[in-house]
């Protein structure tokens, strides 16, 4: 498989939505350890609407679809998540504007935009103990694999591993962004909820779509 169609992207998003909904409580529990325990709820609130909208979406390209999802998140989700993910999706919308097919290089560009959007609003860097610590490594393997001409499924497997590894590493980090910072030293020893979620979502998409 070397490109994804608009339909493929929708299917991937649908798997993502299902995974979010299944993990609502788990994501909340993760956030409860270092944050305020609402991450799963907030994310689920958005993805419930997104799942419904995917069914009768009239977006004609991947960019339009991403932008619509971004708006939905900005509208539906509060908290850090609404702003971060909403802006991230909107940034992906811009980078995939007009595209009907997505190659691995496009996918990497979208990931870069997603990260960039999140950084624009949240200002986090690698190592701040946020979801970026799972996202950035995943995005970087995609860049490498695109350069090496891997196909999307193989690259996705690598991204999946990179995300898992990145999420695992957040355990040792001290939070410098988000609510977990109020814990100071006490945030060390627990993984970041957002990073864990990213890893779980990558794995679900990989298992259910690419395998």
């Amino acid at each position: 498989m070397n490109t994804l169609t608009l339909e493929d992207v929708k299917k991937i998003l649908d798997i993502t939505a299902d995974t979010v909904l299944e993990n609502e409580k788990h994501f909340c529990d993760l956030d409860a350890v270092t944050g305020d325990g609402d991450f799963g709820m907030t994310l689920a609130k958005g993805f419930k609407v997104i799942k419904a909208e995917l069914e009768d979406s009239d977006s004609e390209d991947v960019g339009g679809l991403m932008k619509a999802i971004g708006m939905t998140m900005l509208e539906t989700c509060g908290g850090a998540t609404g702003s971060l993910w909403g802006t991230g999706f909107r940034a992906m919308g811009k980078s995939a504007r007009g595209k009907q097919e997505i190659a691995l290089s496009d996918l990497h560009e979208m990931a870069t935009s997603f990260i960039g959007g999140m950084q624009k609003v949240g200002g986090a860097e690698l190592g701040d103990k946020t979801l970026l610590d799972a996202l950035i490594p995943a995005s970087e393997t995609m860049a490498k694999d695109a350069g090496n001409g891997l196909d999307i499924a193989a690259a996705m497997k690598n991204a999946c591993d990179a995300a898992a590894e990145g999420a695992e590493k957040t355990k040792e980090m001290k939070a410098r962004k988000g609510r977990a910072t109020y814990l100071g030293e006490r945030s060390i020893g627990h993984p970041d909820a957002g990073a864990e979620a990213i890893s779980i979502l990558f794995k679900a998409v990989n298992d259910k779509f690419f395998c």
Partner: protein, 331 residues
């Protein structure tokens, strides 16, 4: 969980509806975006918008009215409202003089209010300014990078910036005075019990009978230490000391004090604590020019309190005591 609610999912909608019914002479509600507006919108003055997660009642909707806020945006319990909720409030309260957002300094609030402000400026050419309240001395800057939390001191910002806006001042002037308040207000709080978020149904943290969480946040975030409970006098002493260490106040100065209940504390205890705070300040020759004692910035059903001290100059005194007519504060 012991709560007078219908379902955890409907808490905020039911509360907004009840609030607007109770205060229909003051406010009206946009149900979809959960924005509570002043009944009569004045497009010739700077309009003030605040908001944040719900669960801090009467903040912020209780302060919507003449001389304070023009709009309050209600998020889910303890979760910032979304960008679109805030954006809706801004466009509705668009004014010739511009709009000032009063934001409590939490990542979620900051991101969503910032995002909404950008949108209103870019898409609608609305003049928007923002201030970030960060009065909580429990968390010191060295510990982290996102800055201090915004807590009860926010009420003073609403009062003073709101009074300034009412005079017909320009956006820059209203913002400047709001920032003056922020620079001069400090708050320290503590909890005797945890709050219980309705959706969770269980206390956010466990706490033994003889213990308190000193420096707790208004969402039940951990404080600086888990201590043994002490007498009101000692509690007041420790709390005022921490504030004065962070913001020294000269003898002979005038201050405003907000003795704020966190939701589950009886009024009786707030006055007992106020008595001790007043004693300490008197002994330090600091004059309490103005005070508020009551539930102003709560944390659901948490038992506990916070003490806010605001250093006053002539301008702040005048604006603080200017008329205000809102559901939760009348001067």
């Amino acid at each position: 969980m012991k709560k007078i609610i219908n379902t955890p999912e409907t808490v905020v909608d039911d509360m907004c509806s009840g609030f607007v019914r109770a205060h229909k002479d003051y406010v009206s509600l946009n149900e979809k975006y959960r924005v509570i507006y002043r009944k009569e919108i004045n497009t010739k003055k700077v309009n003030l918008i605040s908001g944040g997660g719900s669960g801090h009642e009467p903040s912020h909707a209780g302060f919507v009215g003449r001389g304070m806020l023009d709009g309050a945006v209600c998020g889910d319990v303890f979760a910032s409202p979304s960008v679109m909720q805030i954006y809706n409030a801004i466009t509705k309260l668009e004014s010739d003089k511009g709009v000032l957002l009063v934001i409590k300094n939490y990542s979620g609030d900051v991101m969503n209010f910032d995002g909404a402000a950008d949108m209103a400026e870019e898409d609608d050419d609305i003049k928007v300014e923002k201030v970030y309240v960060n009065d909580d001395v429990a968390v010191t800057d060295s510990l982290y990078t996102v800055g201090r939390r915004g807590v009860a001191g926010t009420v003073f910002v609403h009062k003073i910036a709101g009074a300034m806006a009412e005079t017909g001042a320009e956006l820059s002037e209203v913002k400047a005075v709001a920032e003056k308040v922020i620079a001069n207000v400090r708050t320290m709080g503590f909890a005797l019990t945890s709050c219980t978020v309705p959706a969770k149904g269980e206390p956010t943290f466990d706490i033994e009978d003889g213990d308190m969480e000193y420096g707790v946040g208004i969402h039940g975030e951990p404080g600086v230490s888990r201590d043994k409970t002490v007498s009101a006098a000692e509690l007041a002493g420790r709390t005022v000391k921490r504030i004065l260490e962070d913001m020294p106040i000269e003898r002979g100065s005038d201050v405003a004090v907000l003795l704020n209940g966190l939701g589950g504390t009886p009024v009786q205890e707030l006055y007992i604590l106020y008595n001790e705070v007043a004693d300490i300040l008197e002994n330090a020759s600091i004059n309490i020019y103005f005070n508020l004692v009551g539930n102003y910035m709560t944390s659901l059903d948490m038992a506990g309190a916070s003490v806010s001290i605001l250093k006053l100059d002539g301008q702040l005194k005048q604006l603080l005591t200017a008329e205000a007519d809102t559901p939760a504060l009348k001067i």
